[in-house]
Amino acid sequence: MSQKILLSEKKVSIILHRLSCQLIERHLDFTNTVMVGIQPRGIYLLERLVALLKEKKPSISLQTGKLDTTFFRDDFRRSEKPLAANSTEMHLSIEGKSVVLIDDVLFTGRSIRAALTAIDSYGRPKAIELLVLVDRRFSRHLPIQPDYLGAQIDALQGDRVKVVWSDKGKGDIVYLEEKETENEV
């Protein structure tokens, strides 16, 4: 398995700033907006964006939640092991609100489909948008596209896109782990 940097610290930082600006542009004071991080890895991106939004607009109060989609996935019983759940923290209603779903990597789109079903349990939102840091293009199984996009990348089927979130909030890096081909030693 070889590893190379897809997005450096600096690039990730620039992208996060841009994404937060785009969010402000569309949601203004965020009174009717709920930002929902998808477990397990979308919540780190949510935390980063919340910090940036508060920095840019200290007056706003953000409504956020963490959503686990395990029990809504379509691959239960399709693998040897059951799907492990993570905690869901949705202490709010999304009735009539604009929801921004947040995840780190958009790949097949199946997690997002599960999230769209799962979010239904908390009311009927006015609209749902999708924000992702990395879009693995040309690998979608479902007709799902992001509304806010960090970067688009090309990766082969067996490759893994790994987003490493640093503890201190700075120094986040995106790696591509390439599966070694048979010709390579």
């Binding site: 809504f72 799962a118 349990s121």
Partner: protein, 312 residues
């Protein structure tokens, strides 16, 4: 992700400590699910579950049915009273006929100890024991332990008393196994006639004195006197039983400490527990019922994951 070490839930005896932790962890997620405005997840939409109750039950049956429905499984119910069992059909035949209708899982309650175990050997389906005679009632023990864990965080070194009709109780045996596995100390308190002879071999202590037992314990599980299973007079009268082994407010006040009160239900108010105690803040009886649904969802979910993968 870990999986359960078993493919059926026949009793706590067959489970490992890791299984218990996995069930509790999964149940915590399902508890959150059943507190949502829409309390349903689609995980088991391709699974059919048969609830076979050869013995009366309200709570367990409703709890199982609700757990199954909240996981989106299809459910069929069967109670022996209106069935061909009355016409002389054997247990294996009954179950095989139901399975021929493409049922994936069977929840069974039966008056004979070992019925679930027997079925698991003879039919091709996942079996969940919902109580077999005086033997085991694993889901009850799991929800009792879970309710205590929720209260305390850890059961290591905790002292738990099981009081009442131990002889006829499947709850007692399953509770002993589960609580001991989680590191708790168990004491049984009952009239001599309602304590099985060799029960001490399970590593529990026994007592015939309720007040002393209550002073010793951190939590007391008050079992119901199972009159329906009593073919002999095990004690002179209900009044005398409740005077010696019934839990009342005065007894609790005398302890000068707060113990947790559990009851597997249904309660015989005024016999093993007075209304004052059952409705007090120390009693977590209704928490047990709520947790029962979450625990059963967790068990069904984890066992369903071990069923054959449907589409290849």
């Amino acid at each position: 992700m870990k999986t359960l070490s078993v493919s059926h839930l026949l009793g706590i005896k067959y489970l490992q400590l890791e299984d218990l932790h996995l069930i509790f962890e999964t149940a915590t997620h399902f508890k959150e699910v059943i507190n949502r405005p829409i309390k349903k997840v689609p995980s088991l939409r391709d699974i059919t579950i048969a609830n076979l109750f050869f013995e009366n039950s309200t709570r367990t049956k409703l709890s199982f049915e609700l757990a199954e429905k909240r996981l989106s499984a299809d459910v069929i119910n069967f109670s022996a009273a209106q069935s061909s069992v009355k016409k002389g059909e054997t247990l294996i035949d009954t179950v095989n006929n139901i399975l021929a209708m493409k049922v994936d899982m069977v929840v069974i309650r039966h008056p004979n100890p070992g019925a679930a175990h027997f079925l698991s050997k003879h039919v091709k389906s996942c079996i969940i024991n919902a109580g077999d005679g005086t033997h085991e009632h694993p889901t009850q023990a799991l929800l009792d332990a879970y309710s205590l864990l929720e209260k305390w965080g850890d059961l290591k070194g905790k002292r738990i008393a099981i009081v009442g009709d131990i002889l006829h109780s499947r709850v007692a045996l399953s509770n002993i196994y589960a609580l001991q596995m989680l590191g708790a100390e168990v004491r049984l308190c009952a009239p001599k006639s309602l304590l099985p002879k060799h029960i001490k071999e399970l590593g529990v202590s026994t007592s015939y004195d309720l007040e002393q037992t209550l002073r010793w314990c951190d939590a007391a599980n008050m079992l119901r006197v199972q009159n329906e299973r009593m073919d002999l007079g095990y004690f002179p009268s209900t009044r005398e039983y409740s005077q010696s082994f019934g839990l009342n407010g005065n007894l609790l006040k005398k302890l000068r400490k707060e113990i947790v009160i559990l009851h597997p239900g249904p309660i015989n108010r005024g016999v093993e527990i007075t209304s004052e105690v059952a409705d007090s803040s120390q009693a977590i009886i209704l928490d047990q019922v709520e947790n029962g649904v979450a625990i059963r969802m967790a068990i069904i979910y984890l066992l369903a994951a071990k069923l054959n993968i449907p589409i290849q």
